[in-house]
C-alpha cells in the first residue's frame, strides 16, 4: 500500500487530508471525532479577539441537482462564536491526546499590527503546528474590515503575513480569497510577506437561490438574506484553476499550496496534487456525509497510487503542471474527430441534436429498415470540439 505520509510546508502529516477551518472543527468534540475517523489534521475554526461574534439563524443555503444531491452550500456563518480561552484550552487538550495529528490555528483580526501579533502568539502557545491567516471570509467579517476585506488588497495580505511571521516560529499559511481578479497578486503578496504556504480557495461570494414565495435570497434570516460563501463540489473547477495558476507561475511555483475547494473524494484529491498541492483541506463533503468519508479518500488514493506505481505523494505531485499552459501555447495543428461507438450507442440522439442545434451539424441521423436509429459523424464537418464524450 502506497505511503500517504507527507510534509506540508514543514509539517509532518500521516496523510494529506485535513479538515478545513469551518463548523466541523469548531470544538474539542468534533475534532476528536475527526481524528478517530482518520483525518490527518484539522485547521481549527477561525479564532478572533474577544468578545466573540454572534451568529444568526439560519446559516446555510444549498444548491441541489434534480436528484436532490447537493452540489454546493452557501453559508453566512461567522468565525468561532465561543470565547478565545475556551478554544485555546481545547486545542491544548487535543494536542496532548493526539500527538500524531496536525492542528493548525486559523485566525483573523482587524488590520492592526498589535491585534494580529497578540492573537498569533496566544494561538501558537496553545500548541498548534501552524497558523492559518483567514483573509478570505466573504461575508459578515469583511464588513468589519476583516476576512476578504484584507485578502482583496495585496498590500494588506503581505503586511498581515509579515506581522504574524515576525512573532511565531511555526509555519504560517495565508488563506486566499477567490473573490479577486487575479489570484497571483494575492499569492505573490503572501510570498513577499514570508508565508510558508498559501491555502486556497476560501468560499466564493454567492447567492445560492431565491425563495420565490418569500421573495428573499436563501438562507433567510427573518425575511431577509445576504450574500454568503459558496463551497462544495460546484467550486472545484474554480479552485483547480487558481491552484494551477500559482503552481505554474515562475514567481510563485515554489510556494507550498494547501488546496481547498470541493474536494469530495480521492479522485478530487489526486487532481489537486497533480496540479501541485502539497496538502488538502475538506469541509463540505464532511458536512454532507460525516467524517467517515476520509476512509475512502485514504484507501482510494492509496489504491490508485498502487495501480500507477507511485510510492509516495511526491511521486506524482505537480505532474499535470507542465501540461497546463496558456492558450497560445496549444498546438494549432492538432486534430481530433468525434467517434461514435455503434456497439455501445444507446440511440438517445442527444449527440445529434446538440451538434445540429448548437454546433456544426456534423452528426447525421438515420433510421434503418429494422428501426435501429443510427448516428454517424460527418468527419468533414466535425471540428473536434470533443463535446460528444
Amino acid at each position: 500500500m502506497a505511503n500517504l505520509k507527507c510534509n506540508i510546508a514543514g509539517i509532518e502529516s500521516i496523510n494529506p487530508f485535513w479538515l478545513a477551518s469551518a463548523p466541523p472543527t469548531d470544538k474539542y468534540t468534533n475534532v476528536v471525532r475527526a481524528f478517530e475517523a482518520g483525518w490527518g489534521g484539522v485547521v481549527w475554526k477561525t479564532l478572533g479577539e474577544d468578545p466573540p461574534v454572534i451568529n444568526v439563524a439560519s446559516r446555510y443555503g444549498v444548491h441541489k441537482n434534480n436528484n436532490r444531491s447537493i452540489v454546493g452550500i452557501n453559508n453566512i456563518e461567522l468565525i468561532s462564536d465561543r470565547p478565545l480561552q475556551t478554544n485555546l484550552d481545547e486545542i491544548r487538550q487535543v494536542r496532548k491526546e493526539w500527538p500524531d495529528r496536525v492542528i493548525i490555528g486559523s485566525m483573523m483580526a482587524v488590520i492592526e499590527e498589535r491585534a494580529w501579533k497578540e492573537l498569533a502568539i496566544k494561538i501558537a502557545d496553545a500548541g498548534v503546528q501552524g497558523i492559518e491567516l483567514n483573509l478570505g471570509c466573504p461575508h459578515g467579517m469583511c464588513e468589519r474590515g476583516m476576512g476578504s476585506a484584507i485578502g482583496q488588497v495585496p498590500e494588506m495580505v503581505e503586511k498581515v503575513t509579515r506581522w504574524v511571521k515576525d512573532v511565531v516560529d511555526i509555519p504560517v499559511f495565508t488563506k486566499l480569497t477567490p473573490n479577486i481578479t487575479n489570484i497571483l497578486w494575492s499569492a505573490e503578496a503572501a510570498m513577499k510577506g514570508g508565508a510558508d504556504a498559501v491555502a486556497l480557495i476560501n468560499t466564493v461570494n454567492s447567492i445560492v437561490s431565491v425563495d420565490l414565495d418569500k421573495m428573499a435570497p436563501n438562507p433567510i434570516v427573518d425575511g431577509k438574506g445576504t450574500h454568503g460563501g459558496y463551497c462544495g463540489t460546484a467550486v472545484k473547477p474554480i479552485a483547480l484553476n487558481m491552484v494551477a495558476e500559482i503552481a505554474r507561475n515562475s514567481d510563485t511555483k515554489d510556494l507550498k499550496i494547501s488546496a481547498i475547494g470541493g474536494i469530495e473524494n480521492w479522485r478530487d484529491a489526486a487532481e489537486f496534487i497533480a496540479l501541485g498541492a502539497v496538502g488538502l483541506q475538506v469541509c463540505t463533503a464532511a458536512m454532507l456525509y460525516g467524517f467517515r468519508i476520509v476512509d475512502d479518500m485514504i484507501q482510494g488514493l492509496s489504491n490508485w497510487m498502487d495501480d500507477k506505481g507511485y510510492q509516495s505523494i511526491e511521486d506524482f505531485r505537480g505532474m499535470a503542471v507542465p501540461n497546463t499552459v496558456d492558450w497560445n501555447e496549444l498546438n494549432m495543428n492538432f486534430d481530433t474527430k468525434a467517434v461514435i461507438d455503434q456497439d455501445s450507442c444507446i440511440e438517445c440522439g442527444r449527440c445529434h441534436i446538440a451538434c445540429e442545434d448548437t454546433s456544426h451539424q456534423a452528426i447525421e441521423f438515420s433510421v434503418n429498415d429494422d428501426g435501429k436509429r443510427i448516428f454517424r459523424v460527418i468527419n468533414d464537418e466535425c471540428v473536434g470540439c470533443d463535446y460528444v464524450q
Binding site: N65, N66, N67, R68, I346, E347, C348, G349, R350, H352, I353, F365, R373
Partner: protein, 448 residues
Amino acid sequence: MAPEPCNTVNGRPLTTAKINNNFDNLHKPLNLQQAIAESDRCLYCYDAPCIQACPTSIDIPTFIHQIRTENINGAAKTILSQNIMGGTCARVCPTEVLCEEVCVLNSAVEQPIEIGLLQRHAVDSFISHNDTHPFTRQKDTGKHIAIIGAGPAGLSCAHRAAILGHQVTIYEAKAKSGGLNEYGLAAYKMVDDWAQTEVDFLLAIGGITIKHDQIMGDNISLQYLQQNHDAVFIGIGLGQTYNLGLEKENLTGISDAVDFIETLRQSTDKAQVKIGNDVIVIGAGNTAIDVAVQAKRLGAENVTLVYRRGEEQMSATEYEVNLARSNDVHIKLWSAPATIIGDTEVTAIELNKTIIKDGKLLPTDDTYTIKADMILKAIGQKLNNSALKGVSIERGKIIINKNYETSLKGVFAGGDAINTGEDLTVQAVEDGKQAAHAMDAYLTQEEK
C-alpha cells in the same frame, strides 16, 4: 360493525381490512420527490423512441423534463393535449410493451424510465390541484355529433369534438360513464373511483351531454341518431362474450370474467363479493390474468388459470403473467376444457391435454380433472352488431376507411369495435381523437 367478509372459511381468516388492502394501488404512486428523482434519470432523447411507441404520441421526454423542473401543470398539459385520458392510460397501459419497452435505458442500464408512474404523477397532481379545465372550446360550429358509447373511444372523441366547437351527445347503455374504465379494468389499477373523476374532469370542457340507459336496438337506433345529428361515432367496444360450447355451461358457479369484474368494480364493499374456493379461469389474455389475480385477492383458496396452448402464445404480457404467478395463481398450459361436472352447481372440470400436430392444436386422450366451485370464462369478446344495420362488418369488426368512416356516410367508428382495434385503452383514446378530427373535416367539407 362492518360485516364479516363473505369468503372467510375455517383456517383462512380474512379481514375486511386485508381485502381492502389487496385492492389498493397495484403500483404505488410516486410522490413529488420520487417523481423528480425518476425524471432526472431520463436522457431527454431526441426524436425519442417512446413517443413513437405511444399510440397517442405523447411527447414523453418533454413532459418528463417538465416534471424535472417542477412544472407539473405543464407536464400534465403536454400529456393531456395528446391523450385526454392520460390518467387512466398511466394506470392501465401495458407500458412494458409500449413506451417503456423502447426506452433507450433498457440497453444502457436495463432499467427503463417509469414513464407510466411519472405520467400518473403529473395528471393526478394536475387534476387534484386545479379547478379549471386546461383546454378551451373553439367557436360553436352549430354541428351536433352523436356518440354511441361513453367508453374511452367515445369520451375521447367527444372531448376532441367539443374542443373543435361541435355539440356532442353521448348515448350510453349503462347507468354510468367510462365503459371498461368503470366496469372492466382491474380494481387495483383504478382505485378511488378514478374512472368517474376522469369523466368529470373531461366533461368540464363543456358542450358534451351524456344520456345513460340508452340501449341500441331498444330505445335508440342508429337510424334515429343519423337523422337527428350531423355525424355519428360508434364506440361500442365488444359487448358480447364467447361460449365454451360445452354442455352444462349454465350451471351455477359459471360466469363470464367480464361480468364478474363488473360486479367487483361496482361493489361498494369488496369483502361482500362472493368468490369460490376452487376457482378456474379459462383464457390467456390480460382479462384472464385480471380476473385470476382479483379472485385470489378476494380470498379464493385455489385459482387455476387454464389455457389450451403454451405460454408463448398467451396474449397477456409477460409482466401480467408474472403478476399472476406472484399472486399464487396456478397456470395450467396445454389444457382444453372438455367436460363440466356437476348437477345444479359446478363441482369440477375435466380438461384434455393438447398437442400441436402438423401445426394444428389437437386434444389428446390424456385428461385430468380439477375441483371447481367457480369457473370464470375469459376467452374473448366480440362485437354485438345486432343494431348496426348497414354498417359493413368483416371478421366480426366494423370496417373503417383511413378517415375512421364506416360504410355509412357520416357514420364513424373507433375503439375495440373496429378492424384495426387492438384491445388497448390507449388505442381507443387515439381512435376517438383521430375520428373527431376526421368528423370535423367531414362536417366542414359538407358545409362548402
